[in-house]
């Protein structure tokens, strides 16, 4: 079953009041199946964040379709099954870790008892069980990234979308994030994440897609991309610089 499906997805940012600007996304066709860990790769400005924003309903495409669970990303029902962590996301710093999970839980209409139960479980899962009463303004960047993951899982989502989850994390933080993504995979969740860090992607992804200048240049299993002869990073550079389509 395809959890994410885009067809001819195109996004043009307006450059003037009535003028169309450059294409951030150009006829993107992408499909991610249930239970996959899918790495979405691309250089800066490739269109990764734009794709993710369209999928979660923060942005509207110029043309084409973007579906989650067979429904448009603007559909609130589709969004009830996903967890999302934005790139360098910020949270209400006046709230405590427990309060912020409670707030997001309420947006999913979860019961009070379930929110309480999930809050305890998630704070433990991300290693913040002793910081639940602390306001987020007192959190370090690593702690904020962890609470970001916790909020993305408050509704026990079927699909987790992470935009640059490893960005700004130290090696230990990245290792923990990898382990967390793999543990989510063993729970049967589908994970779609964007990243620059090839080493991490190589270790945890079932399939990857390489995007440059809004076009999907390659998609497939890592072995298929590397052709068994080079590292993923070497393949990535070769594909992006040569714009070779696989």
């Amino acid at each position: 079953m395809e959890i994410i499906k885009t067809a001819g997805l195109t996004k043009e940012y307006p450059s003037g009041l009535f003028q169309k600007g450059p294409r951030a996304l150009d006829q993107l066709d992408l499909a991610v199946s249930a239970g996959e860990v899918f790495g979405f790769l691309g250089p800066n400005g490739a269109g990764k964040t734009t794709t993710i924003k369209i999928l979660v309903g923060l942005m509207r495409q110029t043309s084409g379709t973007a579906q989650l669970f067979g429904q448009d990303g603007n559909n609130t029902e589709a969004r009830s099954k996903i967890g999302f962590l934005a790139e360098s996301s910020h949270f209400y710093e006046y709230l405590t870790a427990s309060e912020i999970l409670g707030f997001y839980g309420n947006l999913f209409s979860l019961s009070k008892s379930l929110i309480k139960e999930r809050t305890i479980t998630l704070l433990k899962q991300v290693g913040l069980e002793s910081s639940g009463h602390l306001q987020l303004r007192k959190f370090s960047k690593g702690m904020l990234q962890r609470i970001g993951i916790a909020q993305a899982l408050i509704n026990d989502p079927e699909l987790v979308i992470l935009d640059e989850p490893m960005s700004g994390l130290d090696p230990i933080g990245r290792k923990e994030m990898r382990e967390l993504i793999l543990s989510l995979k063993t729970e049967g969740k589908t994970i779609f994440f964007s990243s620059h860090i090839m080493h991490d992607v190589e270790m945890i992804c079932d399939r990857v897609g390489i995007l440059a200048q809004g076009k999907l240049l390659a998609v497939g299993k890592i072995d298929e991309i590397t052709q068994g002869k080079e590292t993923l990073e070497e393949s990535f550079i070769r594909i992006v610089q040569g714009e070779q389509v696989i």
Binding site: V56, L58, E77, L95, N106, F108
Partner: protein
């Protein structure tokens, strides 16, 4: 009822904001301090306190409505907190209504605290002159009600600007509308005396398009015990509701069209 979660969160944000407390405490000091000012007059002490107190409730209410109102949405965009919220299963209209309701709740509590402060000051004044403390003006609440209606309208103006421009520009625009809204009827009178008909037409257009905020100012009548017909409250209330509905509908339309 997801808007309720947003409203409670907005209220909680205001409650944990030091500026809110500073303004509230300053307002209460001013209301209490009006007793000193009242000693300068003879026999009109309670009127001075009422006048000063209602003006303080109005002024500080407007300050809070503008300062918190203009950042309702723009701060969420600037600080990127909006990304996470809107990725959840909540519609944009519901989110916007929740933000508005949260600030109205904040303003209601703020106005209630200042009104209690005003009544306590009046009772203390009565006590200091050996008069019965319960003999205070109940009609003050009419003026407070109208002030609150005005705050609801100004918050809706601030919310509208907040959906498409920066916090600073929203504050400037909202403040301008507040000032023009209070002098628009004077502008029409001025226009009628000017030779250029186009100027008169322009001023009349401003009068009809912008909110006529002087309708909500009944402080003078209340302090001087001038009777106000109940129909006036009904008409002004209806005017406020219709105007607010139009503002919120426009804000929703713009907010729903935006990319983040």
């Amino acid at each position: 009822m997801k808007w309720r979660a947003v409203a409670i969160n907005t209220f909680r944000e205001a409650r944990r904001d030091k500026i809110f407390y500073n303004l509230l405490i300053f307002a209460l000091i001013l209301i209490g301090g009006s007793m000193l000012l009242a000693t300068l007059t003879l026999g009109e002490q309670s009127k001075i306190i009422m006048d000063f107190g209602l003006a303080s409730i109005n002024f500080f209410g407007i300050l809070i409505a503008i300062f918190l109102g203009v950042s309702l949405v723009s701060k969420e965009i600037q600080k990127r907190t909006l990304y996470t919220v809107l990725s959840k299963p909540i519609g944009r209209t519901e989110f916007l209504l929740g933000k508005y309701a949260g600030l109205l709740l904040t303003l209601l509590i703020n106005t209630a605290i200042m009104t209690i402060g005003l009544y306590l000051t009046l009772m203390l004044n009565q006590f200091s002159w050996g008069l019965p403390v319960t003999d205070v003006e109940p009609h003050l609440l009419n003026a407070v009600f109208m002030i609150y209606l005005e705050l609801c309208l100004i918050t809706a103006v601030a919310l509208l600007f907040s959906t498409f421009t920066t916090t600073t520009l929203s504050a400037i625009f909202t403040l301008s509308i507040y000032v023009i809204g209070h002098i628009s009827s004077d502008l029409v009178a001025l226009g009628e005396k000017l030779p250029a008909k186009s100027t008169a037409f322009l001023l009349k257009a401003i009068y009809y398009i912008l909110p006529n905020l002087s309708n909500f100012d009944i402080k003078g009548q209340v302090v001087h015990k001038v009777a106000i017909e109940p129909i006036y409250f009904l008409l002004t209330g209806t005017y406020a509701v219709v105007y607010i509905t139009l503002l919120i509908a426009t804000a929703t339309f713009i907010f729903n069209k935006r990319d983040f």
